[in-house]
Amino acid sequence: MKKFITMLLVCVMVLGLFAGCGNGSTQQTTAATTAAPAADATEAPAQETEAAPDTIVIMAPPVTGNYLENLKTWANDFHELYPNLTVQVIETSWGDHNDKLSTMAQAGEAPDIAEISSNALGTFVEMGVAIDIAQYMSADRLADYDENALKYLSLEGTTYGLPLYLTIQSIGANKTMMEELGIDVAKIQKEGWTYEEFLDVIKQGTKDGCYGFVFANSGVTASDMLYIFGAGAGLSNTFTPDLKYTMTSENMLTMLSAVEEMTKSGYMPNYGVEAGQRMVMCQTGNAMIFGKAMPLFENNFKKNNAALEANDGTAVENSLPMDYAFLPVPTMDGCAESCYGTVDGLIAMRNKNTTDEHLKNVLLFMDYICSGERIATCMNELYLDPVCQSGRDALVLEEGRDADNLATAARCIAMVQAPPEGVTTEMTATAKKLMDEQIVPKFQLLLAGETTAQEVYDHICEAAYAAFGADNCVSGKLG
């Protein structure tokens, strides 16, 4: 009896809760209807076209220091161009953006436009909230964007977003020190180098208190090393053009053996290095070459040199003045030179306001901020090349950029290989899980010196065969 009564009580409370929800939603609709005429009234004078008013919501993290400020300016410019369209910017913080976006998307409350990394695309497609953008924008506008970059934001032939930039990740160096050692940095930058040459260079760079090479590889950043050196070993993509899984190829073993050799060589620390430490180690003369590195780091070195000059206490402690060189990744076992790259872009997302008319407006704005002067401004801050023609046309390079680094970055971007067409959402999801849960953890073990390259390779093959079937995995050497 006692239990029955309490159950009854709980039922009443839950009912009360639903009643509460009902009230909530009616309030919401009344709020919406009262808000709409107000919006009409304010926009009426400017409204010369017949288009209905619409609000576009965009959510982005600070991809560059000024990005969110710029975004708001561009939103206002856009509003002046299309007075019926208003843009609402949701600012998120770096590192937490994806959590908020996932939660909102799962609640069915995703923003109309969101910034994502191409790696995360599969998740949103799988959730059914990503939108095929080609239907809602003109073909000639879409043609403005490089096909290579668009492929990163496509799955199974459908394009879900527009690229902001293609970021290349490789290694960087204390150019001053390398040149003092008599190493031809310019030649490496222009022509690339082999793993054997690289090993010789870091051997020369290793001295008392200074490592020839350091890579931030602790925790999840271990995957960076895998991807970046993987590109040098011919593992630029997870799947071959005929859709076989590449991580089981002999190229993987070659790369793992090289990493094992490097960790044991003494030319690089044999312990985990924090992401925040790698550049500092280079700047203080404790390491010559460091990874991962982006072209943008040139700016950090310049700022630090200026701070040292001014002696105002804002320079990195104990740092030395030096020039920065962005270097291509060394090639292994005769593989063609390549570079690891990912695309960050904006995707269109489904929520309860989504209609065809709304999506056209959404794409109008998305295209607006991904192209022309807007993207050129953004790329100047990131030291990258725009991936659309209008962006390249609008780009006016900032002064004082190192010509060699600029040329190397352009060369590397051209080498990046986009993922093959025809990879399914499911394959992407399986590969991602395999990478995160099996490959990277074993790779971490290799970096800690607690296993051998062969053991890691065997584990990868076993796990991949279980996930994809042995027939769908590459055996032997790629290409």
Binding site: S102, T103, Q106, F124, Y271, G272, K432, P441, E450
Partner: protein, 307 residues
């Protein structure tokens, strides 16, 4: 013996509400309404979702598939490894942290009021350090280079530098040390509140019997703070089974999944892989495990605690 209970025994089963029933409901009304809307509803919703392949627009009922997928044994299913890691973490962290907090609380007691305040502040206020400062400092403490603070400390004793967070030998230990040292403020304050509630007459009586300090702690203090210990034990186990932030910030679950906890697995499934239904099923399984543990603790600790 409670008089209401006596009365109830006399009159037998009745359908009428007693005065106490009414007061009880009045007292819990506000709390229960808030609880039902903001805690119970999301919980039921998560249970419901665990039977679906959840998608924001059009979920698909899959029955027990999410549970089956989670429990299906394979060498590559991380759930069992994560469960074991979580269990090891809990079994070490919870009892040690209770013991540490209890000892510190007892050690603070002999001082004068002013000194006590200083110590309480020293233990409690670090909780206000921002999460970023905390993670930066701990990463620095655990820096694997010879310059890392712990490695320098070990160097003094001639022990070689350790690869703290990056080696499977020390990664779990590192997280455990961090848990023990960084969050005991709340527990210490709670214990002090309980210690202050112990009546002096108990000690006076014990003194007449010639009890030593440790006897007093063992036979008076420890039994009398049992409700507090039970509270800290149960909430400690719940918190430690759900531990997520430390692993997420410090190791990301590595190396070789040696610090992958269930909380991290649930987070990854829900937010990285977009499999929210599966994450819900894993959360429910976790909750069942916690519930069994808690029941056990109530049995163990609750024998002589009056409710």
């Amino acid at each position: 013996m409670n008089s209401t209970k006596l009365k109830r025994q006399q009159t037998g089963r009745r359908l009428k509400f007693t005065n106490d029933d009414l007061w009880g409901y009045i007292f819990i009304a506000a709390a229960m309404i808030i609880f039902c809307v903001f805690t119970l509803y999301p919980v039921f919703s998560a249970i419901y979702t665990s039977f679906f392949n959840y998608k924001p627009f059009g979920s698909e009922f899959v029955g027990l598939k999410n549970y089956a997928d989670t429990l299906k044994y394979s060498k590559f299913n991380l759930f069992y490894k994560a469960a074991l890691n979580t269990l090891i973490y809990t079994v070490i962290v919870v009892p040690l942290s209770l013991l540490l907090s209890f000892s510190i609380a007892v050690m603070i007691m002999p001082f004068k009021k002013k000194t006590q305040s200083v110590f309480k502040a020293m233990y409690y206020l670090p909780g206000i350090a921002s999460g970023v400062a905390l993670s930066v400092v701990w990463l620095w403490l655990y820096d694997s280079s010879p310059d890392g603070i712990f490695n320098r400390l070990l160097g003094i004793f001639g022990i070689p530098a350790q690869n703290w967070l990056s080696s499977t030998k020390t990664s779990m230990l590192s997280l455990i040390i961090m848990a023990l040292l960084s969050s005991h403020g709340v527990r210490i304050i709670t214990y002090i509140a309980a210690l202050l509630g112990i009546d002096n007459s108990y000690f006076e009586a014990a003194e007449l019997d010639g009890a030593t300090f440790f006897q007093k702690v063992r036979y008076i203090v420890w039994p009398l703070v049992k409700p507090t210990t039970l509270f800290l034990l149960v909430t400690g186990v719940i918190g430690s089974f759900q531990v997520f932030m430390n692993a997420y910030m410090m190791t990301g679950g590595g190396p070789d999944n040696s610090t992958t906890m269930i909380g991290l697995l649930i987070y990854n499934n829900a937010f990285v892989y977009g499999k929210y239904g599966l994450a819900c099923a894993q959360a429910i399984l976790l909750a069942i495990a916690i519930a069994i543990m808690s029941l056990f603790q109530f049995r163990l600790m609750g024998v002589d605690v009056e409710y």
